[in-house]
Structures are given as C-alpha cells and as structure tokens.
Symmetry: D2
Subunit: 490 residues, 4 copies
C-alpha cells in the first residue's frame, strides 16, 4: 500500500493527469479561414497535443493538411497557410486514448459523397461505435481509420436521405455517447452537440463570419465575439445566408461534463456562463471551508493546482507561495537516464523550492487525484526539501469510476480512489493528512445548493458512477474489440 | 517545328521516358516474409520509384508500412524488418501518373472485411474505374484514396459472395483494363492477371514458399526458383496446403504488353519465355538490318539504349563506344541553376565523350522516342562535341497513341510521332537521318514472321492504335473526372 | 512617444526580455559523467536555449557532442549518453548575443595541446577579447570560432608555462571582464570566477565527485550536495586526489551581478547565500512599500513577475490573481499570420483572463522593463479585457545602461529608461501609473541598508552606469569589429 | 586461401574499390561563382562522395557552406546559391580515408589572417603532415580539424612573409607529398600542384574568368574552355588583372599518378593530353594482346570495367555483352537483411544476366584488383548463372603496395597481390584463369615503349613500390598518430 515500488518507474510527473481527447474549430465565410483555424486550434492546444489537422474549402476544392505534433510546429508559417486557401475551414487537435497515433486517425476526417465533399471533426466518444462499426463492415463498408469518429462519417455516406443536413441528422440519431461535432460541406458549416451537451461547443462571430469552437478562448485569440453556446442536442447549420438550428432529439435538460471546469477547459474560457478560473478558485475556497488544517504555506502543484490554491489561500489566510518550480524547457523528448541516475530520483520537470518549504508545514493543492503515482513523488519531494508536515488537498472529489465520453481515464482498477479508502490513500501518498472536496462541495462552487440527485446538473459519473447514457459497446460481446485490424507501423 | 524553344526548359534528360506505374510482390509461408518482400521490391524498383509499401500477416495481425521514396531508403534495415513480422507479406512499388504522390495512395491498400483483413497490390490501370467509383460513392462507399486500384477493394468489400476468393473474382469480373494483382487474406496469397495478360506476373518458389512477382528478377535476387508465368485471365490462390487456379474469364489467347520488352522490364528478366536483354539486342540488330547508314561509331543513349546499340554494332560491324558518359551521382534533387547558368546548356546527368565523338560520323541508338524533348538536346550535345554527322535510330516504332493500361504516356498531342511526319521529326530532332524499327520488325525480333493483324500477339496500341479492351471511362461523360475530391496537401 | 507604430511588429511577448548568455557544468570522477552533465545542463536551460554541448573524457579520449537546440532534444536518450562515455565531463548551454548561432561557436571549445586535450566552457563576456584576438591573429593564430571565449583557449595554447594550471592562470591574467569558466584537462577539472565574481559558479559534491555549476539548481537535479560558491578571483582545481584553490588576483571584495537575483537565476537557486525566490518576493514587498497605489487585484506578468507579485500582494493586502494566462504549447516556431490576421492583435503566448480583469483596477507586476515594446501590448490587452485602471509596477530600477558582461541588452538608444523620463515612459506604456523599485530599494530587499556607493556590494551598472572593469574593446579603435570574418552560412 | 569465410561479410560489391580523396574547383571574376562551383563539384563527384563545401567571396565577405553528402543534395537549389553570393568561389568534394566524416574536416578550410581571409582546398596527401602538426601544437597552434590539409593553413597563418603568395609558397615549401591546392584570398585565386604533379589540376576559362579544377570534365559541364594543365611544381596566381606563374621548386620532370587513368578520372576527362576513355580501352586491347584466352563472351564488371572490356572485345573479336546488370536504385542506405536472408547470397547492386552467361565461356574484365573480396563473389555469381568457364582479366598490374598520396588503399597485408602468387590469387578468386596487364603494358597503352625505369614517366608505386617522395610520417616515431585528439561524436 506504499508507493515504494512505483517510485522510479514513471518519469513524467504530469503523466498522472486526465487527458481530453480533442478540440474542434470551424469558420465559414472569411478569407483567412485557414489562418483563423490554425490560431483557434493553437488556443485549444491544451485539449490535445498529439496531432492537428485542417481541411479548407476553396470554391469546390477541399484541401487537407494533417500532422502529428503541435499546431505551432506545423501550421505556423505563411507557406502552410497559403497551401490551404479558401473561405471556409474546419480543424481539430487530438489526443488519442488508444496509443495508436497513426496519421490515418488524425482529423478532420473526410469523405467524398455523391453530393460533394464532407469533412468532420469530433470531440468526445461514441459509446456504441464498435457495435455500429461491426455492422457497417458486414455491410461492405471499408473503414480506413481505427477511430470511433469514422462511424458517423460512414453513416452519413450511407444515409438514404437526400439533403446533407438530413443525412447528418440521420447519422447522429444512430450514435450514442458524447460529442461536439463540426462539419464542413460544399456550402455549409455544421455544428452539433450530443443530447446532454456533455462535450462543449460555442458559437462566435468575426465580422459576420460564424465560428464554432470547443471553448471561448479560441474566439478570444482571433478577436471574435462570443455569441452563445450550442445547446445540448442542437444541430446548427451555418450558410452564407444565415444560421439555422435543429433539435432532432427534442429539448431536454443539459448535463455538461463537470471535468471541463475541474481540469480540461482553459482558465480564461467561459463555460456554461461561468469563468473556469473563478470556478476553480471557488473550489479551492470550498476545499478550505470543508477541510482546512493549520499550516504555514499553501503550495500549488503546478500549473493546474494554482487557481484552487489561490482560492484556498484567500479563504484560509495562509500565504500562497510557489513551493514547486516548474522547468519550462522540457522539450518534446524526456531524458532517459541510466539506471544509476534513475535511482537518484531526478526531477526533470519540476523541483522543490527549498527556501519556501524547509521547516514549514505545507498544504499542497492539486486539482484531482487519478492513480496517485505522481502525488507519491510530489509529497516525497516536499518532505525531502525539509517540510515538517505535508497536507494534501484535492479540489475535486475522489475519482472512483472510469469515463467513456472522451476523457482518457485509466481502467477502474488503476484509480486510487476505486481501490482504497481515504486512510489507505493517505498512507499510499505518504501525506500527514488528505482531503477531497465533497461532491456537494463542487456543486456549491458552481453556485448550487448541492447536487440535485434526481436531475443532476452535470455529468459527474467519475465521482458518482451515474453514467448518463447507455454504454452499448461495453455491454456487447467483448469480441468487438478483437476484429482483426491493420496496424500501421508507419 | 524546331526544338529551339524547349531547349532550356526541361533539365532532366531522362524526363522524356515512358514510366511504368508499379511492381508487385507477394510471399506466403516464409519466416523472412517482409525481408524477402523488401528485397523483391528492391529488384523491381525500376518499375516505380515514387513510393513503396509492405503489408505483413503475423498470425491474425496485419501490419503495414508505407513510404514515399525508394525501397532501399525505407525498408533497408533490421529495425524496419522487425516491425513487420509474419510468415506472409505483399508489397508494392509505385510510380503515380497523376501527380498526387500522397501517402494515402501508396499500396498495398487494405480493408478490414467482416471475414478478416484483405491487402491488395495492383500494377496496371482499370479503364472503367472512374465509372465504377462514381456508382460506389452513390451507394455510400467512402473512397479514401484517389487511386483507381481502390475500386477493386471496394467491390470485394461489397460482394455478397461468402468466400473471399469468390468475392475477389466477383470484383475483378466488374473491372476492365490491365492488371496484375497480388492480394493477401488471413490465410491466402492470391494473384491475378487480366484476361489478356497485359501486365506481367510470375510464380516462383523458395524452399516451398510460393512467390508472386512482376518479374523474374525479383525471384533471382532472393534465390527463388522460377516456376511459370501466371496465365492471362488466371486467378491463382496459394495456401499453406497448395496452389489452386481459376479461370473466371475462360481461356483466350494472351496479348501481353510489348513495352515490357522495349522499355520496362529489367534486361535480366525473362518475360514470356524470352530474355529481355536478348530481345532488345535483337531489336538493335533488326534496326541495323532495316535502316543502316554508314558511320564511324555506334553510341548508345545510356542506359536503356545499350543492349540495342550492342546488337546494332554486332549486326553492322560498326564499333560500339561509350560516346555519352552518365553521371551516377545525380542524387534525388537536381541542380536548378540561375538563368545565366541555364543558358550555358548545362549537362547534369550526362556528358559527351569528346574523344569518341570528335570528327566522327555518329549513329545514336535509343529505345524509344516519346515527346522528343530530350533527343533534341542529345543530338545537339553530340554535334557540340564535334560529330560530323549524327544519325538517330530508335529500337521501337513511332509512338502515335497514348496508353491507358498503366504506362505514363503524355496526352496524344505531346507525342512527337502523333504530330509530325518522319521528316518533320528529323528536322525537330536536328539529326542528319532518323529511323525507327518497323512494327513488323519488332515482331520479327520477338521470333515471329511479323504482326498477325487478325490476332495480334501483343498489346501494341501505342504504335498501332489497336486498343485491346473497351476504354469505358474515356467514353463516359467527362464529368467523371470532376467529382469533388480532397487534395491532401500534406 | 506612443507605442503605436510598434503595435503589430514584434510578435513575441517575451521578446523584450534580457537574456543570459550561458550556463556551465562540470563533473570529475563519476561513471555517469555525461548523464549528470546532461541533467545539470537541463536544470540550467533557462540560462541559454540556443545550443548545448558536452565534452567527456574517457581515459585519454575526449569526445564531443554539440547541438543547436535544447538539452532535452539532443542529450536525452541512452544512445547519446552511451556515445559519451567517461568519468569526467564538462558542458555548456548557450544563448548567443551576436545572432550567429553557428555550430562552430557551440561550447565546450576544445584544443589539442602538446600536453593533452583541453576543453573549456565560458559564461560571461571578456571585455578585451577583440583586442587580444587581433593580436593573436597577427601572431599567426587561427581562430575557428567567432566567439570571445576562444581567446582564452588560444592564450592557454600559446602560454610558455609548463603546467596546465599555470598556463590557464597565465591566460586568464590577460583577460578582462566577467567570467565563470569550467575546463577539463586529461586529469583535472578546473573552475574559475572573475576577480569580482560577476558571473556565478558553485561547487557541489556527489558521492565524492566534485561538481561545478552555474547555479545550485543544477546540483539539486542530480541530488548533489552544495558545498560552497567559488570565490571571486578563485581558480579551483579538482583532481582525483583532492581540490586545490588559487587566487592569482589576490583577495578583493566580491561584486556579483545583481541581475542574477532580478531575472536570470532560477527561483529555487541559492545565490550568494540568498534564496532567489525570497529576494524576488522581497523586491515585490519593497515595491509595495515604495509605490503602492490602491487597486482591486495584483496581476503578475507571467512567469517572471510572479514572485514579486506574490510579495506585493502580501505586503499590500490586495489579492493576487492570475489575470494573464500563459499558453504552454507555443512550441519552437511561432505562427506568422497573414497581414489581415496580424491586425487582429493576436495573442499567441498569453491571453487576458477577462473574469479577473473586467471592471477592475489592475496592478501589473513585472520584473524589469527593457525596451518597453511588450509592456505596451500587455497594458493594452488588460485594458481591452475591461480593466478600469492599469498600474504598472516594476520590481527593479530603470535600466539606463547597456551590459558588457554577458547579458544581452539592447544598445543604449533602445533602452526605454535611457531615452525617456518616468512620465514619458508611462505615456509610452499607456499605463495609468508607472513605478520602479529604487536602487536603494533593491539593496534593502537584499538585506542591506542601501547601496554602499563607495564600495558597491553588487555589479549594478545597468541601473547606475557604474561599470566595475575597464571596457577595453569599446575604447579601442572600432576597426576591431571589422576584421574580415567568415560567415558560416551553414 | 579460399574466399569462403569472407563470402557473406562485406555486402557492397563496390566496396573493394580504390577511392580518391578529393576534387577541387575554383573560379574568379564571374557573377555566378557559387553556381559554377556547385556544377563543377557535381562533375567531380566521382572523386569524393562523402562531403562537399563551397566558400565564396563577396567584396570582403567570405561565406561558407559545408555539408556531408552529395553536391546535388545540398547545393542544388536557388536558395543555397543565393546564400553564397560573390564573384569568386572555391569548392571541394571529399572522401575521407580515416573514417571520421566530421563536419569540421569538410573543406574548404578557412583562416582569418591578419591581412584578410584565406580559404583552401586540397586533393592529395601530405606525407609529413603529422610531423609538422606535432611541432605546430608545441608552438601553440590550435588545430580544429583532424585533416592533414589543415597543416598548410597553419603554416600560411604563421609565415613571417608579408605577401600572401609568399606566405603560401613559404608554407608549401615545408610540405612533402602529393597535392593539388586551390586557395582563395581577398583578391586572388591561387592554384598549386606538387613538384611531381602527382595529383591533377587544370586551368580553364569561362568568358574571361579563370577556372581551376581537378579534371576537364568540370570545365565541360559549365562550358568553359580548357586552357592547359597546371604544371608540376607550379603555383598559379589569378587576379582580376591577369595570371602569374611561380616555380618555387624549380623545373623537374613530371610524374603524375597513373591511377588517374586506371580508375579515378572520369572517362570523358582529358588527363595529360590523353582521353581517359581511350587509355582504358587501350589497356583492354593490351590485355587481350598479352593474355587472351578463347571464350564466348566478354563481360565487363560494371561500370568501371566497361571501356577496357570494349577494347578487349575489339582486339580479340569476342563479342562484348552486358552479362552483369547493375541496379541503379541502390540509394544511400543498403539493405541489411537478417542472417537467414544473408545466406541466400543476395545481390543488391547487380545481378547476372543469365541469358548471356548460361552455357558460355565468359571472360570477365575489371579495371583493378585490390583485396579481391568482391571478385570472389562476382566469379561465383557468374558460375551460378551457368558459365562453363570464367576467365578473369584485369586492365592493370597487380597492386602490391599501399598508396600514401591520397588514394585510399588498404594496408599492405590486405592487398591480395601482396600476399599471394598469381596462382594463389586465381585459386582464391575461383576463376579458371587469371591475368593482369603487365607494368610495361600499361606504359604501352599510354603510348610509350614501356616503363623508363631510370626516370619513370608516372607515379606507379602501387605496382612497383617505387615511391617518388620521402614518407616522413611513416619513418617518424609511431607516437605521432597517438596524439590525444577529440572525437566529434556529432
């Protein structure tokens, strides 16, 4: 139950984070469509750093450019932008959950339909994609990617509807799960959000050109005006002559993913009308209210723990200090020291600020606890720097259940809070005390009295086990995953 | 009618060559399947230098690796080979005719079918692919490549037959044109040649493992035994328990492409029972018999004119000499000199061997004449080196018609022999005399009395206009080509 | 006097920073010498991101590896480390001031002397290097680099002394300016600090192996113990049998560079016995004491303004908030938008956190003001986000003079504080108020009563014009710089 | 004494060739100086494929670009040429003998002298360079490269002469060995050939601009006129106002290296007034006269054996045929098959043309025999293809002694002819008969009665052991080579 054996194994102190799968962006009717998309994706880079792609439409010609790597590394110069002319564009940043970062899975996905081209970008996860894929293959479809997102493209291609919007709606009616979709046809920019609005999507405007993006920070970077959020279950269709909305699933209460506030969205984004930074600081305050323990200094785990730590410090009156210093020059590859070096307990990405720690009672603030492997090391590092006490505080409740809606969580057996009691976790982490915000606490930080258990305001199954949609693929025969597939070695 | 305006434009003296589209290779039941395939493709590299790919099958797992560039640059080291384990493999080298060398078009193509994986490699061209592709898209298929070869894959996927061999035969029954196909399923290695046997395919054996390859030189490099040619219209199915043959189109006389002898096949390959080197030398002899003119020296245009020049020299008794020296270190990029330099008439790839040329009457021997742009320059170079007379002799007849079966010929308007009379060509080229082998002459060089016009022994439409199959796509509405397609910028 | 014309020109908001030239590291007698050096350089990466190099000694064999780019990109894997075997190593990270980032200038520099090899690393700048270089060339020396550091290597090579330490001391006696040097001979690791100790150098110990490094953070990353600072004017010689010290310039009071505290050193380093983080926070407190103005929120300019902002907030009681959000995924290349995009005022590297800014009176805290080009934009961004007042506070005095000791400052005419009065600067920056810490204030923050003008405790000429050494090259004929030199295009 | 153990070891059939070290080029007074130099180096690429470099002079500014790799890969585009402006340039292609292909050794070498810049290129080898280098280092010189060529640069830098031409002559007076040098100063283009004229150097003219080059083929590619060879022992100095000659060693008979004719020079070059192609064909004729044996076909080992095989065929009347086909697509990397594959005896670079070989008595013609490792395999390959007899004929005498003048020969113990008698060699090679041209035979092929043993017309020590200069470094203490040097890992 101690972290001992793990101590020298994973070297990335940020390895034990949740990861979002994607960010999406689209623009219609602007002569700098590809440059705007590149900038929007750059602002959404925190949602996926594995790959990025842009498809533009220039008159009737679609053009695609997709790369593994960061937006700034591949879409940053005038040459690239000039290879992507056109008045409309959609783009995508991606983090893959499955470990196959092949180029074929980099979005936007594209199909040449009988009526014209169709490009699509997806953030989220379809919970019945494997089931549908199996059926599609039996019907003679050829799936070129291994991504769940391709299924919606295949369904659009096979729809017997005439109009492209109807084909799109026909397709998403068959899909279950979480999605924010942005699609581009020969004439239209289409956006859609799943019936519960689990994944985010906003509408903006730049001098009359409509913009769709995962977060408002992508509007800010290009100076676009925020118009509104796409509603849950809404299909929005932008054409040069205006914007239309469809609600193919009827109107239901929304239930957006609470993790956008806790971890994924950028602090300067506005999600559901709330400043993400404000919510996080408020969660820190709530944490102080619920579980304060006397200490000399409040130290955030950088960088995601900072807003909560500021809130905790403000509520508790204990000073906020940078007790952990981050090394900004990590680059893309990590040093893999020899075995001898490894046992030195090297800290490549951050180090303790001894002057702040030594002889002090330290309260560490982090945003969430997943497997706990990093937390073990951080607590040890703080102790090694001379702290007399180390109290660990989490600005979110214990994560006890896996996600299936586009967040890369470990299997349940690896979730520390799914295996251990609070006291066992404290022992594992090696802290003098350990506390999480309560589930009601996070709802309070969001401005509610607490969780409405009858009609929960947010998708929060990771804390509660209350999954908001069927998990069809999970309940199907596990053979699904074993369909023989091609491994693209390169 | 002079070559003047072209003089400083195309810098590649080998630019005016015909180009083959592809070479294919497959092996079943050998533990070094991927290494053998890499070697076989290396031996077939002359059939396509743009891209190469290999798919292997290791138990039930298919693995693919595809690259733009030469086989030796990407499949040459132990690492790559170890990433491609398995007892079966198929591979492809490619030269694209359409100018879109995107990775998505690099073969083998692959589909995950309901019954298992299916990889396919194609040499040749389907003359009704655009027509079928249009129909497939209307039926909801998504074509990920822009290659004609994908159509056969889509048809296999959609076939209602149960068994994979039946599905494959179902698919090729719908295809018109020229093809040598090599496919790999979970259990079988399949080969097929079009009903006329236009494109070549041979069967070999390496310690019991069957090998399929475009040419015998791919057998020689791995020490495999040549068994026989796949017959025209034959579908050959290799399994661990043996080899089966099918003739879905019945039995008809073969009519292989004569250009394999004239230009494409490697001189050390045996095609249709004939040594390619022997045939080329014999064409040189025939050329001497038909159109000899007195001269001091026989000079081949390197390297493809060498065997014919040897034959011409042997028949005429005029000495064979290397009057043009090739620079072997051209590398992949060509020097693009400044405008000033360009007017110097730089010869980057070859140079005249003045000691052999000066003061001599020179007979130049080349294998074929396409647009004539290179020939203009070579004749000029020989004159500049001091030749008193320059006689140009071609070891093939005038090319007057485009190919649609996998050879990259220019549009008809660019073919010199389609535009000009013999005398006009001579004037354009700048030679003192010009002669081609006659059509009957090449049949004589092949051991016949001459061309059997009722039942021509070879596919020779480039010389005669006698196309052996329907050209459906050509006769269809030209809208076909205008289907909106994605350009993969990168 | 407004920042208007600059508005859309420099896109890097961090462009207007001072830059240190180098970090140095050395180790003797450890079997992981090269891995330790790579890690040490990684910890010193903030001192130079342009290039990095390591020289190791394995028995009698020196080996070098030098690269443009980050340590983590080139020295991070087991392969590289295994190419650099040996029990001793020296390394260097570099930022070049002159704009020629050629590989020939990447250190360690190396010479094969008659007695053996000699590798040297330099942080600082020699103020008489051009003068000496001219003389060396007249005497027949061939300088392969264009770096001032090579001069000391040439002087060691030409010294008539017998022993290598005497040759080294002979060489540095001829040098003026600022330097921390780390050198490696066949048997010895040598360190040296200039007579005033302007540039920093510390001694550490790892299981008996002596370590030399620019900062203590390079000791922390490898778990080495901090022993002491190298003293000003000290030459320290480490051999397997022990450590010796020499004071070739006698003993004088030290006068270290105050900018190590203000900007260069990492916050977790201990410099001159003081925590850099503590000093910066104290400067923020001093700033609040000297020039507090009422406001609603204290916002640091990330990341270097954070410690001072925390101190300012603690002293003033005004809450500290992250009002500017940094984008961590900038990568190495920057997006160069089209002209149209550029006028949108894109913020690629950071953005305003509107929720914190809107309707607030904001006090911005930064560490220093150089040319002011970035500050103009930051103030504008904060105003655009809805601040009602913007007060700009700097945790260092006005920079009025250029540096010649290894800090990349612009020419004097570009320094805002050298051109303008305080009120003119305020107008230029566009702030409602502007204030700097006083010169005495920073001495107070360091624990003194104030600056001892008779014997200043620190090198602070950038604020005071009080240069501590002769500036020989500056006073020499300006012909020096015009010596014809080779430009290494690549 | 059989080739057995070597059979599967070296995979490059061209590995067993002699290699020249370098080619040099220079031009003065032409606005396309760098483009001309790139083209000239491209024509000289056969003299060195490891690296290439160009230094230009634009007014007073020297610029350098040096690369590992082929000229066509690095100096082929307008961008590179535009980075190298100026009216004068010198360039170098290199093959290194020592296996350290570090960038620091890529020429032109450059020094900033007190009077201005000085760039130098060297083809050949100094036989006292190590001795002089040791002395230079004792005198305080820093040698940045490990090349023998740097010594002459150091001597120029240290010369006490005033004028640059005098300094250059002062330097070469101290050098022993073989050299063709091309140097560029602020105003002059200088060429020099060693006292015996061992290495070649020619003078050309392009519209008034003087050109220096290793071979005439470099003049041909740019359309320059051949003026004359630089004489043995001549120093030629080109300035805008004319050309001057110096003979610092007085006038002696020349003794050029005979291997330029046998192997190194391009067949279309004119060396010493003779066509290289003619000489090689004549050597083939002489070979037929001396050692003809009845056979059915003459087969050259491609490509260097072709001219001699043509001559042999013409003299003997036995037909010349391409019995070995070369694969032109080898690329830069070679396939490294697995152990299983290796034992198949794979032929990656050439293959037997069975149709020509089978059932025939074959006479193989090659230009020279070094270690014999390749010849063993070629004979075996020809036998495997069905030859009934294999006769091996070499168009040069047995190589019994190593070279020290710039040709990369193996140590003497590896030279087959130094170890074995003719019959032993035949047995090792596995041929039915083996013969070499006699030493007098090659002199006859050059137009002489035979070798003038009193005053040999050529440098021919590889055949005769008659070294024409002292070999100082060889006779010095072998400690020379052991000077501790830096290994540039990268």
């Amino acid at each position: 139950m101690t972290g001992g054996t793990d101590m020298f194994e994973p070297f990335d102190p940020y390895a034990d984070r949740l990861r979002e799968e994607c960010g999406v962006f689209g623009v219609l009717g602007h002569e700098d469509a590809s440059a705007l998309t590149a900038l929007g994706l750059h602002a959404l880079q925190h949602r996926g750093q594995e790959a990025a792609g842009i498809v533009t439409l220039d008159k009737d010609q679609f053009r695609a450019e997709r790369h593994l790597g960061l937006v700034g590394d591949h879409f940053s110069n005038a040459d690239t932008i000039s290879r992507l002319p056109g008045m409309a564009a959609v783009g995508h940043v991606r983090y893959s959950t499955t470990g196959e970062p092949a180029l074929r899975n980099v979005q936007p996905l594209f199909a040449e339909l009988s009526g014209g081209g169709f490009a699509i970008c997806h953030n989220g996860n379809f919970t019945n994609a494997l089931t549908l894929r199996k059926q599609l293959i039996e019907d003679g479809a050829i799936c070129q990617s291994t991504s769940d997102s391709e299924v919606v493209l295949q369904l659009v291609a096979r729809s017997r509807e005439k109009k492209i919007v109807d084909r799109f709606i026909d397709a998403i009616r068959q899909m279950e799960g979480a999605y924010a979709l942005v699609a581009l046809t020969n004439k239209k920019l289409i956006g859609a959000r799943d019936p519960l609005g689990i994944r985010p999507l906003v509408l903006g405007d730049l001098n009359g050109a409509p913009i769709l993006a995962s977060e408002t920070c992508a509007l800010d970077i290009i100076g676009a005006t925020f118009i509104r959020e796409i509603e849950n279950g809404e299909v929005i269709v932008c054409t040069p002559s205006g914007i239309e909305s469809f609600f193919p699933f009827g109107r239901k209460p929304a239930r957006p993913c609470i993790f956008e506030y806790i971890y994924f969205a950028r602090p300067d984004s506005i999600v559901g009308g709330r400043s993400v930074y404000d919510v996080r600081r408020e969660m820190g305050r709530q944490l102080a209210r619920e579980s304060h323990v006397d200490s000399d200094v409040i130290v955030p785990v950088p960088d995601s723990g900072v807003p909560a730590a500021i809130g905790y410090s403000q509520e508790s009156g204990v000073p906020f200090e940078l007790g952990i210093i981050r090394n900004h020059y990590v680059g893309r590859t990590f040093i893999e020291p020899t075995q001898q070096i490894r046992t030195l307990g090297v800290k490549l990405k951050h180090s303790a600020n001894k002057a702040i720690i030594q002889g002090k009672r330290v309260t560490l603030i982090d945003d969430s606890l997943v497997r706990g492997t990093t937390s073990v090391k951080i607590v040890q590092m703080i102790r090694d720097a001379g702290a007399t006490e180390v109290h660990f505080r989490l600005a979110s409740p214990p994560i006890r259940f896996s996600d299936y809606y586009g967040i890369d969580t470990p299997v349940r057996e690896k979730l520390l809070a799914a295996k251990y009691s609070l006291e066992e976790m404290r022992t594992y982490i090696g802290a003098d005390s350990l506390a999480f915000v309560s589930v009601d606490g996070i709802y309070k930080a969001m401005g509610y009295e607490g969780r409405d258990n009858a009609n929960p305001q947010f998708t929060d199954h990771c804390f509660t086990g209350d999954y908001p949609t069927p998990l069809t693929d999970l309940s199907e025969d596990q053979e699904l995953a074993r369909t023989p597939r091609l491994v693209e070695v390169r």
